[in-house]
Subunit: 169 residues, 2 copies
């Protein structure tokens, strides 16, 4: 259980909290409601709950952590429940999977379609979704020898300022 035991982390590093999460939360709920309304998709209590669980702390959660939270809130907590809803939310861009953590996180920029990139602190496991342009990252051409890229995964792992200040590695 070396790298997967805890996901608490309470670090602050500029990139990790450059937003007012109260606003972020309300905005996000608004946006997802509008999106589903517009698309004639059901924003069911279960889907809403899963999204709320993810957005309320705005940190990556494992599927089984989400299931626990669902259970606490009176929903079913068998694995397929979480995975199905997560798949659905991911399809529509409101949730992303952090491959390096086997965890899921609410999208920080659901309004504009994007290829997300994530910065992950390996000590506190805090994750920031960064804008391609702001971060200096760029996938210039998503077309490589006629290979049509449908989806990109970009994750940068390291140690955030707070964690590196706090300890000598």
């Amino acid at each position: 259980m070396a790298k997967k035991k805890k996901r608490e982390g309470k670090t602050t590093s500029k990139i990790f909290d450059d937003h007012d999460h109260g606003i972020c939360f309300d905005d996000a709920i608004d946006q997802i409601e509008n999106y589903f309304l517009k698309k004639n998709l059901q924003f069911t209590p279960l889907r809403r709950k899963v999204f709320e669980i993810l957005i309320r702390d705005h940190k990556p959660l494992g599927a089984y952590e989400i299931l626990e939270a669902l259970g606490r809130d009176g929903f079913s907590s068998s694995p397929p429940i979480a995975y199905r809803v997560l798949d659905f939310l991911m399809e529509h861009g409101f949730v992303h999977k952090i491959q390096g953590l086997n965890a899921f996180i609410a999208c920080s920029h659901p309004n504009h379609s994007h290829s997300p990139a994530f910065v992950i602190c390996r000590k506190c496991e805090k994750v920031a979704e960064v804008d391609e342009k702001k971060s200096g990252i760029s996938f210039a051409s998503p077309n490589i020898d006629n290979f049509e890229v449908e989806k990109t995964t970009v994750e940068m792992t390291g140690v955030c300022t707070t964690c590196s200040r706090a300890a000598t590695i």
Copy 2:
């Protein structure tokens, strides 16, 4: 078992075979031998075998596929065997993990230290390791607001030319 059942795939698309694998194989064995010699690290029969298994077909293999192959060749095939050797080979840059497939692949460019990027066909699951520059991808600055990036994961999923020619999605 939707996305994880088979890993055979026999597609050819320019990006996927722009090298002579006979040479590639020999080179790779050479390079890894020299590297370990120079670093005074043991290139044991087990480590050699795991690397050979990975390099011989040069496609991503799951840990349990590697274990089966090890078993066939008379080695122990309990999970920690594979994971330990894979970790070791990854530490030294001779193997990469493809997060999107939970699979491992021999490095195509072990000689120069690099941040690998992978192109993955979601139909045949063939994988190509691409050069950052050639592919038009670039992580310009690995430093984002003082966050020091130690490791990057870049994977591009789509459909390769051969697969897209072969079917109508």
